[in-house]
Symmetry: C2
Subunit: 296 residues, 2 copies
Amino acid sequence: MLIPMDPHLLRTFTAVARTGSFSAAAQELGYTQSAVSQQIAALEADLGMPLLTRRPVGTTEAGTRLLEHAEPLLLRLAAVRTELRRLVAAPSARLAVGLTPLADSGALAAALARLRVEQPLLRVTVETTDAAAALAALATDGLDLALVDGIAAPTDPLRLPEADQPPTAALAVSEEPLVLVLPPGHPLAHRAALRLADLADARWLDAPEAAVPLAALRAAARTDGFHPHLAYRGTDPHALTALVAAGHGLAVLPRRCAAPALAAVPVGEPRLLHRTELRHPRHPAAAVTRLLDLLD
Amino acid sequence: MLIPMDPHLLRTFTAVARTGSFSAAAQELGYTQSAVSQQIAALEADLGMPLLTRRPVGTTEAGTRLLEHAEPLLLRLAAVRTELRRLVAAPSARLAVGLTPLADSGALAAALARLRVEQPLLRVTVETTDAAAALAALATDGLDLALVDGIAAPTDPLRLPEADQPPTAALAVSEEPLVLVLPPGHPLAHRAALRLADLADARWLDAPEAAVPLAALRAAARTDGFHPHLAYRGTDPHALTALVAAGHGLAVLPRRCAAPALAAVPVGEPRLLHRTELRHPRHPAAAVTRLLDLLD
DNA sequence: GTCAATTACGATTATCGTAACAATG
DNA sequence: CATTGTTACGATAATCGTAATTGAC
């Protein structure tokens, strides 16, 4: 097996590439400028090729490639340490739960309530995040449990942006149909069902945190299209409802999330479901195990 | 970010864990016994917990966890180096292709023939492997191209055992129906179609290299069952045919592979296809790019 | 000329090998 | 007592910081 390259150098390299400066990277990592320079030189010598351009600092072709691998590599390295520390640490009286905005949190909330009766001293925190951040936080001990959502064909597990994390365990929580939400007077509002592919050229609301992201629709319909007509950054369902009602564009939601003020038409063909999954580290803390029991 | 643990130590740790001996690991890695002992001690001190038991040498709970992560981590580290070396190396006059036994190689073979006319000096090698080994070889420059197969729902990409490799690019090559092969006189031989779930308790042939692996059927039907009645290790279709004809058990094959001597019944419900995909590094060598052009 | 990266160099630290030691079966 | 892992210790090499130097705008 080849001699592995030094993760210290890799970390320094990512810092330089990210900040675009040797000095800034040095400050960030607590080195001197000189040390950073030497580390980069050592990495370039080790790999036998230039990785960065100087003045201005930027990544070469090879550097770009290396960067693609270095980040997940370092993340996983940190995750391993975290997992092992969690193994020996006293079972913390903490349960940190992450939720994605559209996840169906009903069953989990109920189970959490029961758990708190059993273990009143447990410090429970709940926060909303996005799926990628939640999975990273699971790996680095920021979260103990993540309730994530997405769309998938009826029997498929969710495809989440796992980057290069250690694998997590998944538990399906709920499935529900997807609907297209429209202004009440919209010509399509009275259709019994709609095909996703036929809607590729409609006016779409780009609301990745408040509705199913357009990228997911593109992937499901296997087309380009679904171009954003107006972007909404935020998670507020009322804001989304107002934007749709005002005709700024369409959105796809799990049926549970469709506001009564809007028309909602089921999306059939391809047959897609909105799924909510509970993800946790493969070797979860005791509180997580107990919570999973309570979910049944 | 945490200080990453040293891959040298990780590599030494995996060697000790694998060989079950400090001395054997030392010999394998070209160290002295003493150095290995010091490296393990350093790793244990770094992580703050024992990783190995001594006399006999074995992994502790924490060591087992670490091992699960260390192997993919080291593999990926090696893969990065390979990818970068490939980037600057002179375009090699080599094209190494890996095939899984059931992959549909017709189109690829034809394209390869055309390529060899264009580039007679190109050294082409073809070998059969399994999917996991092929993907690992793509990462470490053992292969330039892998033709892999598997079963999946109609529009799904294949789910391959990627371990923790850098991602590869995929190109769908062919799809075909799956059939159940039976002895000609079998009671089920004249059915128009069969449901997979109804067959979970039949007598199955466990022939992971010559037919669809039973594990894949279990995953597709989402049941236990499909217990092996007789195991065949090998890739020879004639041997498989003989075993099925003699009534040793059933097998599922892509339709193209079903021998005329056997009865073949389509498998419907769930709707599954046998897919063949071409996988290559995301930044392939020139010969690979040309071959992909010739495939269209 | 100024700002930023590189190089020179000495001090500190890390890591290896040799060899003595300890423990286990 | 033989085998195998650990510890002690000295030699070597790696890596950092200070400070001088080079190079680009």
